[in-house]
């Protein structure tokens, strides 16, 4: 603590500017021995403290994957819980190395904020939940409905757009807090609850009788959630991007946490390249050639991580949907490693 204060005083005194140490996040990370990862304050399945008070989730797994690739140790990560207001400032200021916090990839964020989106860990979108007893089967039947919404979110705007575009009217019932919205919906103060589909599923599982509620099939907005890094350090950006591709590629090639060691002896050249048996793909990134092997060994592939945290067998129970591999009709697609 003393040293830090001294450093600040010195730096302030010398009038150093914030341009110097932009590049070389990898060196800094290697020097300190861990990755600082910005997460949510608790979104189940994505990043939330588990029963042992350890951060877990799909987005946490991404930071763990990068740590595994660099250090061969998925636990070389420290987590900074951030509010949605703080997240970009914390990243720009260098307080965190990766922001993996249910952040929607939008153009203005990508171009204005001095940050770069690495990829899409989860394709989310806004959906609707209604009571089964109301017998509504499609969002197009919702004309005239009272809709519970959290205020000040893109959700509110999306809902207004959707109803206007389909020539329907609705009564917004607006609250400032997610818990209030859910309570209002449960108490019957509105007919429909709308937010991101992943959150709908999580909230549904909290109801006393989840089976009384149904999530409508329509998804009315695009909410691609992905990890973010600072702009201006291409090496670090590429490490993160390829860590994400490695997770997806491993699933596509059928490499899992369980069979990764067998797969080292595979005849498939794509598998051999992924796991570093053939070619030099790690060193240009500043990593070792078995970087992807380490990721799969410690974290598993994308599908395994998905099933572990948000998949149909978890309490959250999200189907793969858009997040299936491209070969299964989804959008998850890794650039070829060659």
């Amino acid at each position: 603590m003393q040293n830090k204060v001294l450093t600040i005083a010195l730096a302030a005194g010398l009038g150093l500017t914030a341009t110097a140490a932009h590049a070389q996040t990898l060196d800094a990370v290697k020097a300190k021995g861990y990755i600082q990862c910005g997460v949510t304050g608790g979104v189940p399945g994505f990043s939330a403290p588990d029963a042992n008070n350890v951060w877990a989730g799909l987005e946490v797994d991404f930071c763990r994957a990068v740590a595994a690739a660099i250090f061969d140790d998925p636990d070389a990560v420290r987590y900074t819980p951030l509010t949605s207001q703080e997240r970009f400032a914390a990243l720009s200021a260098g307080e965190i190395d990766i922001l993996s916090r249910t952040t929607t990839w939008t153009m203005s964020r990508d171009t204005d904020l001095g940050i770069s989106f690495v990829g899409t860990m989860y394709y989310d979108g806004q959906g609707f939940m209604v009571r089964v007893e109301d017998g509504i089967e499609s969002a197009l039947d919702l004309s005239g409905a009272a809709v519970c919404i959290e205020s000040g979110t893109t959700t509110e705007l999306n809902a207004a757009d959707y109803f206007a575009a389909n020539g329907m009217d609705f009564t917004p019932v607006v609250f400032t807090d997610q818990d209030e919205v859910v309570k209002a919906f449960e108490d019957g103060r509105c007919d429909v609850y709308t937010t991101d589909a992943s959150a709908l599923a999580a909230e549904r599982s909290k109801f006393g009788t989840p089976d009384d509620y149904v999530i409508l099939p329509e998804i009315i907005s695009k909410e691609p959630l992905g990890p973010v890094v600072r702009q201006g350090d291409d090496q670090w950006f590429k490490i993160n991007r390829w860590a994400y591709y490695a997770l997806v590629e491993a699933e596509e090639l059928g490499v899992t946490q369980a069979n990764v060691d067998e797969m080292l002896g595979s005849d498939n050249p794509a598998v051999r390249r992924l796991l570093g048996v053939e070619g030099e793909f790690g060193t240009p990134l500043g990593l070792t050639n078995d970087w992807a092997y380490r990721i799969v060994k410690h974290i598993g592939n994308y599908g395994e991580s998905y099933d572990r945290h948000v998949g149909p067998n978890t309490e959250i129970g999200l189907e793969r949907g858009l997040n299936a591999l491209w070969t299964d009709g989804g959008l998850q697609y890794a650039m070829p490693i060659r």
Partner: protein, 378 residues
């Protein structure tokens, strides 16, 4: 024969008329004195009869006749229709509420900190305990240093635990204790400075106090956690918890300064003159004569500030520090315990913990006020 016009023996004492004693008289006097009172009483009783049973059923576990799920219950019990508070969830996640993300293998360290704190603070608060001076030195100087190294680690072979992993009640207590201990001397100095005859000191103190009092604590915390990093050179980061600590301390010291200034102004001028006529220096007259009286006058105000500070610590949750309230909020999204009453139970628990600490502070201050009462009461 004797004739007497007055009684020869005393009339035996009779019980007082039923209307003037006992429950009935009390009720007549206090509850049904006028028709309006009677109506209000009936409404009040009806309200209690309407309100209390559901609250009782919600809070108290099944073995006390309520609907709540006692510790040890399962999540299915909590999800069942009509179930009350889910205390099983609180007990299952208790370690998270107390230690946050502190590694379980190292729980002995916060425990030791709690224990040491309790051992040191009890004799300090108990007026008749001996060795006050050493005790105070230990608590105010040695204890914080020990706590820092014990919790943070990195020395004597202790594993380093960065402050991001601290959380729960531990962090709430750290912030409030540091805030209370540090803001008191700063507040006293600011109050004295504001009364100073030296223009620079006076202006600086007035500016400091007015600036910090004029800004909401939330704004200060936001500034510290969002704006500050942007002003600083890349790579230099100040610990997030430290930033919050400094913000909370300075904020509360500005308030304390004004409370203490009230006490200083309440003293008659003669006290200052008497101190000067004894030939005491400024600091001696302040330390021996003025401050002891001034501080005694404003004990309620000071304790009020401390209680406010203790409750305000929950605001650090908005900058992503896991104090007690924030751990409760984070755990309320725990999908393994998701039930209709999960969030409510968490907040009830947090409210109860805060109430215990604030109530204890308030009681202690009342007791201390009575003890120090030297007959100035008006």
């Amino acid at each position: 024969m004797s004739l007497s016009y007055v009684r020869e023996e005393m009339v035996p004492p009779q019980p007082a008329p039923v209307r003037t004693t006992g429950v009935i008289a009390w009720a007549r006097q206090n509850l049904f004195a006028t028709p309006f009172d009677a109506v209000m009483t009936v409404i009040g009783v009806a309200f209690l009869i309407w309100a209390i049973p559901p609250i009782y059923n919600f809070i108290f576990p099944t073995f006390l006749g309520g609907d709540a799920v006692p510790p040890g219950g399962t999540v299915e019990d909590c999800r069942a229709a009509g179930a009350g508070a889910c205390w099983a969830y609180i007990s299952a996640r208790m370690s998270f509420f107390i230690y946050g993300f502190y590694p379980p293998a190292e729980y002995w360290r916060p425990n030791l900190v709690f224990l040491l704190g309790a051992l040191l603070i009890v004799p300090l608060l108990w007026p008749r305990a001996p060795f006050k001076r050493i005790n105070a030195l230990l608590f105010f100087v040695v204890y914080p240093i020990i706590c820092y190294y014990l919790l943070n680690g990195g020395v004597f072979g202790l594993r380093r635990v960065p402050t991001e992993q601290w959380g729960g009640l531990l962090v709430t207590l750290i912030i409030s204790l540091v805030g209370i201990i540090c803001s008191m001397p700063i507040g006293i100095l600011l109050a004295l400075g504001r009364q100073s005859k030296l223009p620079i000191i006076k202006t600086l103190c007035v500016m400091f106090i007015e600036l910090w009092r004029a800004v909401p604590l939330i704004t200060i915390l936001f500034m510290a956690s969002i704006m500050l990093p942007l002003f600083m050179p890349q790579g230099t980061t100040v610990d997030k918890l430290l930033r919050a600590l400094v913000g909370v301390t300075l904020f509360s010291s500005a308030y304390l300064a004004e409370v203490i200034r009230g006490g200083l102004q309440a003293l008659p001028r003669g006290q200052y003159e008497a101190a000067s006529s004894l030939g005491l220096s400024y600091w001696k007259s302040m330390g021996l004569i003025i401050l002891p009286q001034a501080l005694k006058h404003v004990i309620p105000g000071i304790v009020n500030s401390f209680i406010a500070l203790f409750k305000d610590t929950s605001l650090v949750s908005i900058v992503g520090i896991f104090d007690l309230l924030n751990t409760v909020q984070a755990a309320s999204s725990d999908i393994n315990w998701s039930s209709p009453t999960q969030a409510v139970t968490g907040y009830l628990f947090a409210a109860f913990v805060f109430w215990i600490f604030c109530f204890a502070m308030s009681r202690y201050s009342i007791w201390m006020e009575r003890r120090l009462d030297t007959g100035h009461k008006r």
